[in-house]
Symmetry: C2
Subunit: 233 residues, 2 copies
């Protein structure tokens, strides 16, 4: 189904999943408005990655919003006193929620996407959450997305006045990392522009050992492709 | 029921409803963490009001967060090109959503409150929404609050790990403005510190003609009290 010239807001982090999600939205015919957050992550490399991906996939507009989640802390991604876990024995099927969980992050991201969508007159929001290679984030699960979608349709003037119904699209939610990479490749994602590592070195090279690097490397192996980004030795 | 030393996050705007909500949370025994947003409102007077109220009601902490909703526009409160409506014939029972509606505002505010609550280990969030003197904001209705509460309990590690259940408290949701003022007065709110006007003059005096001023004046009349704030002649 081709959604000719319909606008969509696409959350874009700079990683594999959101890059492939953007490529899918574009392939479905949406005019894409990409939204990236500078939220006090330790490293700014993923913002640069998001800019390059947005440009290479010809979005209608790319906004980068500063939000200070670091002031709340509570995550290894925003608080330098909490260590990024490395070489975890269990990967993707642990019952524990990892230290890289950022409190209420996707709720905040989707709320901003909703605000922008309402002003744009868009009713479609794309987010690259994934629950297959599930690393324990509660706000990446389908039941959370569905609850947020319901909230969005009660929260906004556009929905309440009957101008449309908001839909939160999660096209990669049930794909494996390998499938995401194969799909992205088919839809022209240049994965050399993406960034996944939670803890890159000063030269910006990926560590290869955090959960995010390990899932990424597993994905490229599954896809039978070589990861084009550089890793620290 | 006295909630001794339990922490709560309380959204505080500087207006009547949130001031009374904070006073109620405090009377119920909660240790209150007040949260105010500088979101690109045209005037900063309500931030100053929030600071004074937080101080006078002895909160444990008061955070003021900058979020740039003005960059999205779409509201008379954040976009100088959209006029604040004055002297509307219908007040409080219009089917139309007024120009002062800010897209997804309460969804964004509650998302931040949730993030802070999770880091604090709090499960109680207070918001001073009101649907009696309903001026048409969809995100002030009980069904929106209930949908957000469900979302919160799916979004967060603390809820998913069973540490507690988030509750969004809306103690003034069904009160009239007069009842809110009487309740606030009983629980030590100094209403001379509060600010309601959407469009104050340069001396900070309220206009007396916007929806917010008119609801406030109607409330004081109902309560049989004199509004202590200054109005432009």
């Amino acid at each position: 189904m081709l959604e000719k010239n319909k606008k969509a807001v696409v959350l874009l982090s700079g990683g594999l999943d959101s890059a492939t999600t953007l490529a899918i939205a574009r392939t479905e015919g949406f005019q894409c408005y990409a939204l990236t957050f500078r939220y006090g992550q330790r490293h700014q490399r993923e913002i640069e990655a998001a800019k390059k991906i947005a440009h290479s996939l010809a979005v209608a507009e790319h906004r980068i919003i500063d939000i200070d989640l670091a002031q709340f802390g509570g995550s290894a991604l925003t608080d330098p006193n909490i260590k990024v876990p490395k070489d975890r024995a269990e990967l993707g099927n642990s019952a524990r929620i990892p230290a890289t969980y950022v409190p209420a992050r996707n709720t905040i991201f989707l709320s901003y996407a909703l605000a922008w969508a309402e002003v744009l007159g868009a009713f479609d929001i794309f987010i690259g959450v994934n629950q297959t290679d599930y690393s324990g984030y509660p706000d990446s699960r389908a039941e959370f997305i569905s609850a947020f979608e319901k909230t969005a349709n009660l929260a906004t003037a556009a929905a309440v006045e009957g101008k449309g119904r908001y839909r939160i699209h999660t096209p990669v939610i049930n794909m494996t990392k390998g499938e995401i990479i194969l799909t992205g490749t088919k839809f022209s994602v240049d994965f050399s522009l993406t960034h996944s590592c939670y803890d890159p070195d000063e030269q910006g090279r990926s560590c290869g050992r955090c959960d995010s690097c390990r899932l990424r490397l597993k994905g490229f192996a599954e896809a039978g492709l070589k990861d084009p980004v550089e890793y620290a030795k």
